[in-house]
Amino acid sequence: MLFNRKDLLGLEFLDKKEIQIILDSVKPFKSLFMRSVKKAPTLVGKTVVTLFYEPSTRTRTSFEIAAKRLSADVVNLAVNASSVVKGESLIDTGKTLAAMNADYIIIRHSMTGAPDILARNLDASVINAGDGFHEHPTQGLLDLYTIFEKKKKFENLKVLLVGDILHSRVAKSNIWALTKMGADVAVAGPPTLIPQGIEKLGVKVFYNLDEALKTADVVNILRIQLERQKENLFPSVHEYVELYQLTKDRLAKAKSNVLVMHPGPMNRGIEISSEVADSVNAVINEQVTNGIAVRMAILFLLKPKANKNAYSD
């Protein structure tokens, strides 16, 4: 089984086989959670640094638990993005971490390409935990794993992404991976939140949610950032709710076994109604559990460049 990667920067760059290898590797990690001791010594003595330029308690915690369950030492660095603009460049921060012998760097950054800059400059494995509006590959993979766990296939599965596609790195990663695995991907949202040329990625575009829902096997609801309203991308929350909230009534018209997903954190009552979020169709909590197992698999599969300072054994 070949998997030769130092970094995970985006799902655009993985082929179908690699994605399959990752998905196939998740189950043993998930089964660790059933034991009384939920950890394995795989990464004993290794250092994992989470470097978050944007606040995200969920993703950071998920990575932290994943790393700790593999017995790595975890260091969390929260960086105020504005201080970066003023002074220390990302490369310098990266070099500092390298000098501290970090083996894995998990980075969240508001700017596209930031993980790429680190990956190119460091021996450590770099995992993109979300960059700008670009990609969020581990979220994409955990979404795929959750879908596969429930639906047992990707081929011709109809997956619908709803909401702010324009600013969503989750959507981007889902689109790349799902289309590679053979799923039919569609997006639904107001035209102002659908980026140019998205159809060229093999995606069907809907403006009408009800119509899009009819055939969906999976519906992944994206979080709507309320500040987008200020940019005139939609007129009001009220209207957004009217047009795009996944409600019980809308769900009732979809397939009865439709899977409802959300990358979290949810705005209950805005993009998703509480009834739907708590319904039997929702697998939102499973996504969280799977997220840890998927991130463990990623940490296991990636291979940092051998540290030149380390003793050879």
């Binding site: 970066v84 603009v85 596209t112 390409g113 670009h134 140019q196």
Partner: protein, 424 residues
């Protein structure tokens, strides 16, 4: 100094001349024969003499941003690129909206510069787009055009006044043509690539909207507008149409807009970040077509030096712009001349006869006897790799580093003096 260049192909587009012969320089001028024996006789066999190249769009960064470039380093880089005259944009610190700053630049250029420097003045005070600057005073001090370059005048009324007011000085208003609202926060061309990368987009329309506004205002006022760094098919078409109705309109593009597309942004190299951004294949084709049919009159570098630490930031945080003096001529040759988009004479005209005419540079841009002896000698057989180490400019922000080129300048003569010649 008397210079005699023998057995050289002389291309002088202003007079439709392309023939072999000798060229004589004496007293800083081109002459038909020398009064005494030449101080230096140059064998021009296999080489081409063209009027000294004029780059009508650059940023020399002095005063105020000497960490990026100075008049000293910038003019040396220009000389190496075969450029004998550079126009410098007014976004210095302080900006060029007052006579003393113009005089400072001209003095500095005279003392330390290797090539001619022509300042461009601010169209509005402080480049704030609110009040007209003292264009008459600036003209007297030595500016050749006005522009607010990167802070384009957004208020149409003020643009109208600028175009009207400059009519009496017979200088063009250079329009940076960008609708700052449409391009807000954008860092790259809008299209599939910006969607994939998730980088904030700048639509082609951000440029074209302003081009069409300024065409309409040129029509209203009879003023003279020069469009800077045209990058889109939309703009090329608008300008082509407008020129047919006889307006005083001219346009330039830059080498990167006919040699690169936004595909290369995918490597996150901040040296592919410029404003306007690199566009699509279709736009590159349109720019070439515009050059070919004369819609685009000039080629300029938009030489925009930025320090290494500024360009090594994340893509969003890095400043716009690339250096261009040292690669301009080689790019024109490889992307336009060898590919037969333009003849060598047509290509040379875009940096000689045409800018001299549009900006009323007397006795420049041609090789007639009596003209100022600004001469660029081109060697089409010279192959080289454009290495980072070879860059003369103080900043090294070029997307063309490590590119192999064939053909470039081998000697640069400014005002009858050899200011640069290739060593090997």
């Amino acid at each position: 100094m008397r210079i005699q260049i023998d057995d050289i192909r002389i291309i002088d587009p202003a007079f439709n001349k392309d023939k072999k012969g000798s060229l004589f320089v004496e007293g800083g001028k081109i002459v038909s024969s020398l009064s005494k024996k030449a101080d230096r006789i140059i064998d021009g066999k296999g080489k081409i003499a063209v009027p000294g190249l004029i780059d009508i769009h650059s940023h020399l960064r002095e005063p105020g941003m000497e960490g990026k470039e100075t008049i000293y380093t910038g003019t040396r880089a220009a000389a190496k690129g075969g450029i004998t005259s550079v126009f410098c944009m007014p976004n210095t610190n302080p900006v060029i909206d007052n006579a003393p700053t113009v005089e400072f630049i001209l003095l500095k250029a005279q003392k330390e510069g290797l090539v001619n420097v022509f300042p461009i003045g601010c169209a509005t005070k402080g480049s704030l787009g609110e009040e007209l600057s003292e264009i008459g005073v600036l003209k007297k001090a030595g500016i050749v055009a006005v522009s607010d370059d990167g802070n384009p005048i957004s208020n149409s009324q003020i643009m109208r006044r600028t175009l009207e007011y400059t009519k009496m000085f017979n200088i063009p208003v250079i329009s940076h043509c960008e609708d700052k609202e449409l391009s807000r926060n954008g860092v790259m061309n809008e299209g599939l690539n910006s969607t994939i990368l998730g980088l904030r987009p700048i639509p082609a329309q951000a440029e074209a909207v302003m081009v069409s506004r300024d065409i309409l205002l040129a029509e209203l006022t009879g003023g003279s507008v020069h469009f800077a760094h045209i990058s889109t098919a939309l703009s090329v078409n608008l300008i082509r149409q407008a020129k047919k109705s006889g307006l005083k309109i001219s346009a330039e593009t830059c080498p990167h807009y006919f040699s690169l597309t936004d595909d290369i942004v995918k490597a996150y190299d901040t040296n592919t970040k410029m404003n306007p951004p690199l566009r699509s294949k279709k736009d590159v084709k349109a720019v070439k077509d515009g050059l070919c049919d004369g819609t685009i009159d000039c080629i300029a570098t938009d030489h925009a030096p930025h320090a290494q630490e500024e360009k090594s930031r994340e893509f969003d945080n890095a400043p716009f712009g690339i250096i261009g003096f040292e690669t301009c001529l080689s790019l024109i040759l490889s992307e336009l001349v060898y590919t037969k988009v333009l003849t060598l004479s047509q290509a040379v005209a875009k940096m000689t006869a045409n800018p001299a005419k549009i900006f009323n540079l007397k006795n420049r841009g041609n090789l007639q006897a009596g003209s100022i002896a600004d001469i660029t000698i081109i060697d089409l057989d010279y192959s080289y790799k454009f290495s980072k180490e070879s860059i003369v400019s103080k900043s090294k922000n070029s997307p063309f580093i490590d590119r192999d080129f064939k053909g470039g300048a081998c000697m640069t003569i400014v005002g009858g003096k050899i200011v640069w010649e290739r060593k090997n």
